[in-house]
Symmetry: C2
Subunit: 371 residues, 2 copies
Amino acid sequence: MADAAHPLALACGRSLTSVEVEFETYGELSPGRDNAIFIAPALSGGAHCAGWDATAEERGRAWEATRPGWWDDCVGPGKAFDTRRYFVVCASLLGGCYGTTGPADADPETGRPYGQRFPIVTVGDWVEVEARLMDHLGIDTLLAVAGGSLGGQQAIEWALRFPDRVRGCIPLAASSSLPPMGIALNVVAREAILNDPHFRGGDYYDGPRPDGGLGTARMLGHISYLSAMSLERKFGRRLQDRSDLSWSLAPDFQVESYLHHQAQSFARRFDANSYLAITRAMDYYDAADHGGGDLVEAVRRATCRWLVLAFESDWLYPPEECEKLARALEAAERPVRYVRVPSTYGHDAFLLEVAAVTDLVREFLAGLQGS
Amino acid sequence: MADAAHPLALACGRSLTSVEVEFETYGELSPGRDNAIFIAPALSGGAHCAGWDATAEERGRAWEATRPGWWDDCVGPGKAFDTRRYFVVCASLLGGCYGTTGPADADPETGRPYGQRFPIVTVGDWVEVEARLMDHLGIDTLLAVAGGSLGGQQAIEWALRFPDRVRGCIPLAASSSLPPMGIALNVVAREAILNDPHFRGGDYYDGPRPDGGLGTARMLGHISYLSAMSLERKFGRRLQDRSDLSWSLAPDFQVESYLHHQAQSFARRFDANSYLAITRAMDYYDAADHGGGDLVEAVRRATCRWLVLAFESDWLYPPEECEKLARALEAAERPVRYVRVPSTYGHDAFLLEVAAVTDLVREFLAGLQGS
């Protein structure tokens, strides 16, 4: 989506002269090209949001062959984003490690992986790339853009950056900016990576990887996606495959084993430099920047309809924060439906409260098509 | 408090033949020896709970000279634990790094620091040591035992392990066991330490220390002591000493700078092996073990009066968990006053809600002396 003749100018002031984007599509684009929906991924998701991918193994991503796309519960025939009616597009993030250009790719200037020389990217940069992808696909206007978490922030950004290209915006479990609790957790996650003995300033691609640090970061991320209630229900203080304590630092409790497992499986499929890049984009995003710091002024730019979904027990993007976006839209007299979905799943609720999300999204999308 | 003739048998099955305990006392023991209160420290506190210590520097702990004891707001003349009326004792934890025997001390068998060969210790072991200290001081019965967080769990353990030696028990911001959220956070903290390039299996005393990992662990601990509200109030998304983003991973936000500062100052004054030991004790403690897993049966052992204080926004030892202890005491027909103190400070509230804590503790202690 960028080459030497069409460089991608980034918010940080630098530009990229070589950007490739991995994307997937589902369903068919209507003759009037008016049924396209862009699904924006969160931190750990990629372009593969739905269905089973038979080519995953040959593309070197065996783990993708073991499970369906990350939002398969909501994207597919008859689902919330009904691929019999809508043309769904999803793309991997710039700076990530799922096919779109990122720190593990070769810097054209040196021929060696960027590592930490990859520029700091922003949610705004991602949406610029996604807009170029839409140009490439011949889609001028999106019926809707939707996403949860960091994907929800991309949805917000789409509506503010390209108001003429979005008819409906669906941020789930996302606020206009990350509260300081989230920034604080990101600092800890990054420290775990930066302090890993194998990190070596980000130039680890020719040797052992900083899997310990990346795994630790993932453990913490995972905790922030759950709630105290879901941890209690899933694990409590139960021991894992043992009847007594080990009297050691080895995993005794189910929650410990679970986190270790999550850490190991994530380290196999993710790149530490990408984790650093994406969490920084998460810290930096503030939709109010479009209004000089005033969120009401910022959202006045939008012309679409909004469905803002918050989830009761989410403590990463808490409902109170999501509601601020909805209130700002109301203050700017923009059409918004705000729903605080009851849930005990924490931040992950946007993926797990399938019935509620399906009903709300389906109704919202039908309303857009009718309008 | 232990020597070859009087070894300390630990819950893990091992025993220590050399245990020294650092303790401090405040006020005077009454002729009837009936006014002693033991204050149990939390993870990062030591024996020095009140006042200014003029000898700190010469004892190699310069940082203790820069501030008063960790509970100075509540321990002293005219304060909640009024040292004009009560004889207050505080002691550093076994396995810690504030003078009481711990992993940095020489193993008498080898002459070299224990490191990770130091046995796993428990809240029960701490209370055994504390009871030996009371024997040493000639104190048979404590008027009260009090503490916040892990100190509160020691208070609970005192009441259940030595019911005849405790007249009043005051656990603050402590439940009968750590919920899985806390275990999960401890796992992440320990991983950060274990993965530090300087950790070297815990044998780092003759070289660089695992300060990066210990600092990361402390950052996370610190976050768990605050609340989303206190983070919002203290820092919001404000930048630190700059008007624009750095477009790097360097600390931009106030909350980042604050956490880095906390990490560095903690690493200077704490030992990573102790951090591992104490968080494991925190994971392992479950007061219900005294009742074969039944908390009501467990607390039936206690004969003292109870003041159980929980703090509204605490998410490490949440009020709902503290309330379970109070309800168990009621079910066992034990005299308990349970108060959920309104606060937005999070877990740290037990140190910060000085006015509320002072009123409640003072009244409770007066009632004990009158009885």
